[in-house]
Symmetry: D2
Subunit: 357 residues, 4 copies
């Protein structure tokens, strides 16, 4: 099997970005590899895993055979400081430990975990159960939602990448909050996620025989993504936000479907509002009026598809927002941030069409 | 575990109920057969299907081999008027055509479709797209939700059996509405259903390759079950009701998960309210505080499990209500009605424990 | 449908069997509970779990709420020696440690693991990686496949219950081997299993996101069930047996589909051979000629359905054999053994109709 | 959403292939669109559907929004004769009707259905139940399996594209048959397919609630792909071939897993034989010894992964061969043929990495 490098020869040799990935054995890690292996400017230099050091990546993930030649490296030997950018596809708490040293070496950081998402250290420590090791860096951290922070991302040294639920909910509500047309104190986000959102961890609750052919809510009384979503919505609204957030575990591999409810306080043509708000956004697709997007319409792609409804012409809007939790909700959004940070076309390496069926 | 045998000891051997099923080739039909084939008092006399007349039932559904010896009969030859009760597991509109003749013959009717659910004929005709052929019978029709109408069911000649979504939503909200503790004008029911809820029809949208590994909302702007739910909730509340109802199609065979949102207008210990409200109900299980029931906990059983939450101690309640759409949402509830109508123990033939995993 | 009640009428009220279950937190454990909770003669006395001691069983498995009131007990306090029979739904190696003491106390043992399946100790030690602690008991152990060993089971003190694959393969090939009509040296068993067959263990390979929407073979070069199947087939054939056995992991919760290939060495009406061979067997259903049973036709039931084909009229037979791995492949077969051991109707508590769809 | 055309600007303007697709509403049609929309040399000129004429393609398949701007055209108006190549993603019998006219216009044909697969007209007519309308063209038709017929494909006017099962089976057995090392008279192909292989047809048997969480064999006594596979194997072996072929329907969307059994008649290092046989093939990946590929390792990709085993060192080989039935088993292989026919790099537009998880 010849590799794909031939097909990338059109990309300017000058624009090679040296990339490191810390923690490549999880789902966001392998998804980063899938995307970066086909990215015209990406030069994968190192991928680390303490536990699997020495194992070829393609042995763990045969889908990458012939496409990724690296082996997992021990973090100690990975020479990450020679990279241009390092992605952290790790559990919470790993990126913040490594951040000061890498930043000193001039490396930029994109953390797919939560270390740099919340500006409020107390909130972080409460929800993630650990002290923050470098709160002084939070002022430099940019929340990596391009549709909100595009310019700040371009110049950022540290990206705190949004969680998957927060991406779907914030993109779904943004036009309404920015326009000030709904009651921000009683928002409801009823979200349904595929099981890969729980990570590639050996836990009984996400076994096939536990999570298949069934459905349940979880975290009803409190979930880590709640403060993150509220932080984002408050910025959009410029006001206090009250949010009920109900995540559900559903029997699909990938995908988030956010069903959002907001009470109207000011009138508008909401379909048009959404279309205009997102005009020109490469990865937000406002569907035609009356649409009901399914999550498979974004499976494997970086797109967020949104539809806005006003049932029975009443005073409550129902907004449907779907993403692939591993792409727009994680690895794809990370690459989108990288593209912005390195002045590449924002869509580079992200033009995969959803796999349907 | 003496429960099953004990509860059947009351059943007199003499109490054989002659049963007919019209339209036995769909999912509610085969589920009725599964339940009735093991019911101590059921005597299956006829099952009809115009299209499959002559085919042994067990040839279409091999799960019934050795348990159901009947063949599908042409409705014209089925001698349904000699039955004690006839179940209609048919498309909408069939039961109302047959009702007058069967009632004249002294047969009782349980319609699993919508012909006798809505008391408002105009609503029926609008949502089901056909004129009602016997509106004069609606006054006799009892809405077959035992937790609401138990006494009326005992004496009924015609049962309009609740839809699957309406069962899960009404049982989930009933304690709150009866107690008058929530704002009834802005209720939200975000419901997730397994695909069997769409029936056993040759339609592209519910193919495995279309409905697997994906999730979508449908009927967001309007769904037939909306007026039925509102009709029921209004009776409970004794007040006008505003409801946003969002059904979702999810990749599981059976199961409905209703996630219900209601804003508190009066204080109470809501956990205790639910427990007391449903004390003694054989098929409603109020889960301990903090629970989050999964649909598989009722798979194949007639149970409805409910949990009530008050996230962040705020002013909105989140109620979780799960049923098996084919059992408590259809065939099981039908048998529960039959038990009441024929003075049998309400749980007869309905003590199946959920199949988990 | 009189079957269920009739078959129970013979059961004397006096015949209460005191039952202990060791290791009730796995899938075979909860399935035993589902079956025994509805068994007319079962009196559940104890269920043990070292790890979960004190937790009510119904808290771990909400499907059992209201039906099983026991809590998990520490094995040390469970007074298992006061039971009539103890089921071991444990990892391999547990039953053999406890066997001598329990047998001394007059308790009968049904081991759902492998400790008492293989008569050849060396084979056991090779495949299960542990020394056998009581090889002297193997002579007393009966291989619990009722269709082969019914009479021996009635009098047994120790049952080594067949594995799930071995049950489906042996029942599928038995008529051919007993009749001596096929080449026994080149049998092929291509088997497909649902994921619950791998147990309720926290392992990455059986996560939903790993095992869903995909399929693979495993153990191609060797699998623990190979020597067990060969041991059984040799007894049937009275000759040496050569078997290629290929298990596959498939994305369903329950079910085994064995596709068996054997080359004909003697002529017969094979359909009739199968029908006559299994006439009267309560849990083997020989399907009509031309049938192709699906695993859901036995989901949740103790039935094995078999179809025999002779493609293109050639010299190779293709036999299809389906079971529910947790019922006829484990817990149901265990109860069937118990019924035989305690002189109850063989079908007591095992008349569940498959859940379809 | 900007389209991807910008990213394709590197491809030479000269090498634009004008493409027509007949019958684009099925799964092979939408998969062709996914692949061709990202193919650097493809210029989609027309896609036809009599039934959906006028509907934008992206309305039926929202995954293509912003990527495919065409609407379905009525075949009568589609000007297919102005295309360089026309793909037929239609039911059997359509391509042969249109072939003479298109060939006269100098258009090349790739038929994804069966019209040009079988050289034996009688076989075609027997298995597909229709007379062949242009048997005189069969001599020109090339069987589009590049690993067998690469040079013939380059010059072909008509491609009869292999079926999905035949692709997986022939690639899996080819090294053995070409080397003459196995008994060709008793080959066994036990194949497992995802449900999309049955097409996007409104049929009860492939509904989600029928095909989910279950598994069954079908076509055990005879299947259309049997003569096609035998035709291919005979050419490889240069000898008569006896084959038992058992297809199974399994609950996954995409994927075929062929488990192949062959008896050894001559010795070799079979691992090495496979590796050398397929060295340089861009879309056949011989896995390391001991591997057991899962179908998801090729989900969405054009790769075929193969592993060869010799269980217990005996005289039977077990070969595992996996493909994505819609890619290497249909649309991807069609594009691979097109690349060869138009002198493009064989891998152009086919370098998608499998979507895992």
């Amino acid at each position: 099997m010849p590799t794909t490098t031939e097909s990338r020869q059109g990309a300017k040799e000058s624009a090679r970005i040296r990339i490191g990935i810390v923690g490549g054995t999880g789902y966001t890690g392998v998804e980063l590899l899938r995307l970066l292996a086909a990215h015209p400017n990406a030069e994968l230099k190192a991928i680390t895993s303490r536990k699997e050091a020495g194992m070829p990546v393609a042995e763990m993930f045969p889908s990458l055979r012939g496409r990724v030649d690296l082996a997992f490296a021990d973090p100690a030997n990975a020479a990450l400081e020679r990279c241009d950018v390092v992605f952290f596809a790790t559990p919470h708490g790993v990126a913040m430990e490594a951040a000061p040293r890498l930043l000193d070496a001039g490396v930029r950081l994109i953390d797919l975990a939560a270390d740099f998402r919340l500006q409020d250290v107390a909130q972080f420590e409460r929800w993630y159960g650990m002290p923050h090791s470098c709160p002084e860096l939070l002022a430099d951290a940019v929340y990596g939602l391009p549709e909100v922070n595009r310019e700040a991302i371009r110049g950022a040294r540290i990206i705190g990448l949004p969680g998957c639920y927060p991406t779907s909910v914030q993109l779904g509500l943004k036009p309404l909050l920015c326009a000030g047309l709904v009651d921000t104190t009683h928002l409801i986000a009823d979200c349904k996620s595929g099981v890969s959102g729980a990570g590639r961890k050996a836990e009984v609750g996400i076994l096939f025989a536990e999570a298949s052919d069934t459905l349940k809510a979880y975290g009803v009384s409190g979930h880590r993504h709640h403060p993150e979503i509220v932080q984002g919505l408050k910025r959009m609204a410029g006001a206090e936000v009250g949010l009920i957030f109900t995540p559900h575990l559903t029997p699909m591999i990938r995908g988030i479907h956010a069903t959002l409810y907001a009470r109207v306080t000011g009138e508008a043509d909401f379909q048009r509002l959404y279309e205009e708000h997102y005009r020109g956004e490469p990865f937000v697709d406002v569907m035609p009026a009356g649409s009901q997007p399914d999550t498979r319409s974004v499976r494997g792609s970086n797109m967020c598809r949104i539809a806005v409804h006003r049932p029975h012409g009443g005073d409550t809007l129902t907004v449907l927002s779907v993403i692939d939790n591993l792409v727009k909700g994680a690895a794809g959004q990370a690459v989108q941030n990288m593209n912005l940070m390195f002045d590449l076309p924002e869509t580079s390496g992200l033009e995969h069409i959803a796999l349907l069926p």
